[in-house]
Symmetry: C2
Subunit: 456 residues, 2 copies
């Protein structure tokens, strides 16, 4: 049987999903509502409509529709770079000498280099439908900014990206990709916003932060006619769009009669993990099947494994709605961690609730071990993984090695979210033995928990 | 009919080629033989065996077998990153508003970022079969070096790469990818070889050159037990391995009843172009079908369009066999041209002979126009192309625009050899308007023609 499974399973175009799956519809206990930061009351569509596109607000608040149609135009765009391959990691299995069967869904075969494009194109589409001129956003590691630039270029929308200053300087090539797609990239903090000018006046030498970039992007969106702000993770709408990852995986696996025992994904804000597991989690929630789900986060930014489940600000500037989530506190400053995409202090509300209900596990892994796994994977599977994705690789290898000990032939599926072409500085540090691990102390965490808002 | 053709055609594993196609078997007039640089007599297998692996020497000299079996192990490796997609460029067609149907064979979906891996894995395999310890090579732009590193890592072979010093310094990230795959990367010229030390003594501040790196790699291979030298282009064995590109393209097109009118590829040493066109050229040579073939080269390094057809050295160090080819003279110093992979002074012997027989056309294009085409392509097709590949894009767009004028519904196939993730410095220059064009003067060419050897 397993001999018949090809290295890579590509769906035919007609097999590609035509709807996104909204996992909230199958949750008996829903995620807690977003709160208006001014009133601390649940956000209304009107509250959210000042910041986000109308259709996306509807999706954000929609907890009842199990499936939402993917508009024709987005389906067409998906066909440009999807279906993404579901890969049987034969070479890795052989190298590990494990009885486990390892599969990964590879989202890196597009120029943004990651799964982020799945939601970027949806958000750009709805902005265009609403007749907007453009959108604003922030980017840290740069994958989201790149994806949004590509999406906006396709729909001829203006794209204004606030890029954390240290990334802007350290990752000039990411910046150039965005510029090639016509985006306007500004290092943050900048003098183009009030909040940016204020921060610059106070801290002229700051390298910027994601929180500050979000605040600038939100201000820019709300102060210009015809603009809205878009976000690449954390929000429930993003997990909805990313469900295309899990749906494609499930269709491909069903086609070949494969049932995963364990499903693994890296978790920063939760966009990839949430998208990958959604349809499988739906089956579990409906009592149809059982799976083990494992969220993998960096030991340096352990929101699920060491955070608290509480209402918190989504941004350090405290201008966005409050969300109930596993969080380290919006004041948490992650250490210099090369896995830029996983440095967020909080976690998607959906995933937080599923984790709190015990439907999902979480582990944290250290950076050096992650790069060791990345190198091992690259050498046998021929794909240079992003540091973020490599957290999932590390966990998948660990699970496969457990199977080797026990002799169990488990089927493991993990999400390989992207490629590491723009992370060679980090690979260089690893190659040179200059990479270190960092785990925040209990005291540091306690201090950042003190930044949590009092909501009741 | 055309509505039924998907955006991307992937072959099933069982449809993938099991043999390479050797176009020389169908050429009534064969390419001229390689000459021993010392004796100026045709190279024997023994001559070549000092430098190259035995099986590869056989392939180099094999002009009669039309098909050569792809060893099982190489077929398995191919399945890790192949089949590559044959893409229908619907979005580009729409943007250009052309009646032409445009297809491209995309070879960039692997970590080496280009088609180079197709030959690298074959060469590494035969080296391993011969019981060698390792191989040496040179790399300029870095794609070949990356591909070979990946291939050697897979077969656990030592890989020693001489990287042109200016590339080594300007492209540290390419270097890190090679190191991640375990390769030993040395900036050339270096003090690890006699020829390197000699050059350094004479020109201590030199930035290196491809010719010098080749000489160092050859010296290193021939002075160490258990090593051979491998090369990523120009040689007939490389075109043989790269025929997998054309064969997959042809199988996919035949499956959907598509016949290309024009087949376009960028041409540096000729590895991609030769591989892409081979099976189609075979049909033309056998009188079964007719196609237009177009080689696209940079105006700054125009070996086909402005070179002479003569015996020349393959390297500036003059240690490799002489080859009859279209050449600018081994003393030709191409200007600072960002399309690093197309800076070779000569052209594959097979392609040179086909061009000389009038079976193939050639055009040259200027760099700024190439980047304009690259950006246009990236924005609608979602792939950031390598500068080299973008030469083919430019020509394909030109041909499609001619169709728009005449109303002809021609079918165009071009080779998209790779991605531009490591070429963002060049994209940045283009984005900033800092890019310039350069065309060598007749006088400069005349001077470099003077470096041609006297062979009779």
């Amino acid at each position: 049987m397993s001999e018949k499974i090809p290295y890579k399973i590509y769906l035919e175009e007609h097999e590609m999903p035509k709807q996104w799956y909204n996992v909230r519809a199958d949750m008996s206990k829903k995620p807690a509502p977003l709160l208006n930061p001014a009133t601390l009351k649940p956000c209304t569509a009107e509250d959210l409509g000042h910041v986000f596109c109308d259709e996306l607000v509807k999706q954000e608040l929609n907890e009842s529709d199990r499936y939402i149609d993917i508009p024709e135009e987005i389906q067409e765009f998906y066909k440009m770079y999807r279906p993404s391959p579901l890969v049987r990691a034969y070479c890795l299995e052989k190298k590990l000498d494990t009885p486990a069967k390892i599969y990964y869904k590879f989202e890196g075969n597009n120029t943004s280099g990651s799964h982020k494009l799945n939601s970027a194109i949806a958000q750009a589409y709805y902005a265009k439908q609403q007749g907007l001129k453009g959108v604003t956003t922030e980017t840290g590691a740069g994958q989201w900014g790149t994806a949004l630039s590509m999406a906006c270029s396709y729909f001829d929308l203006d794209c204004q990206v606030y890029m954390v200053k240290c990334s802007y300087e350290q990752k000039p090539f990411r910046r150039e990709v965005m510029r090639t797609y016509g985006a306007n990239v500004t290092p943050s903090p900048s003098d183009t916003t009030e909040v940016g000018r204020k921060i610059l006046a106070e801290f002229p030498d700051t390298n910027g932060s994601l929180g500050c970039a979000i605040s600038e992007a939100v201000e820019k969106a709300t102060s210009q006619d015809g603009y809205r702000y878009v976000l690449g993770s954390v929000l429930s709408q993003v997990l909805l769009h990313q469900s295309v990852i899990g749906m494609e995986s499930k269709i491909a696996m069903d086609k070949y009669g494969i049932t995963p025992d364990i499903i693994i994904g890296c978790a920063g804000g939760g966009s990839n993990l949430g998208g990958l597991i959604s349809p499988f989690m739906g089956e579990k929630l409906r009592g149809e099947k059982d799976y083990r789900f494992i969220a993998v986060e960096p030991a340096s930014c352990p929101s699920l494994t060491r955070g608290v489940y509480a209402y918190d600000f989504c941004d350090t500037g405290k201008v966005c709605p409050l969300q109930k989530m596993y969080t380290l506190g919006s004041g948490f400053m992650p250490s210099a961690n090369h896995a830029g995409g996983l440095r967020y202090h909080g976690m998607s509300a959906i995933l937080s609730e599923l984790y709190d209900q015990g439907l999902m596990e979480a582990v944290s892994v250290e950076q050096t071990a992650v790069f060791e796994a990345a190198q091992q994977f690259a050498r046998v599977e021929g794909i240079l993984p992003a540091p973020e994705s490599s957290h999932a690789i590390k966990c998948a290898i660990d699970e496969a090695m457990k199977c080797k000990e026990t002799g169990e032939e488990k089927t493991i599926l993990f999400g390989l979210t992207g490629t590491g072409y723009f992370d060679m500085y980090a690979y260089g540090a690893y190659n040179d033995g200059r990479m270190s691990d960092y785990i925040p102390t209990d005291e540091e965490l306690k201090k950042s928990f003190d930044t949590l808002p009092k909501t009741d």
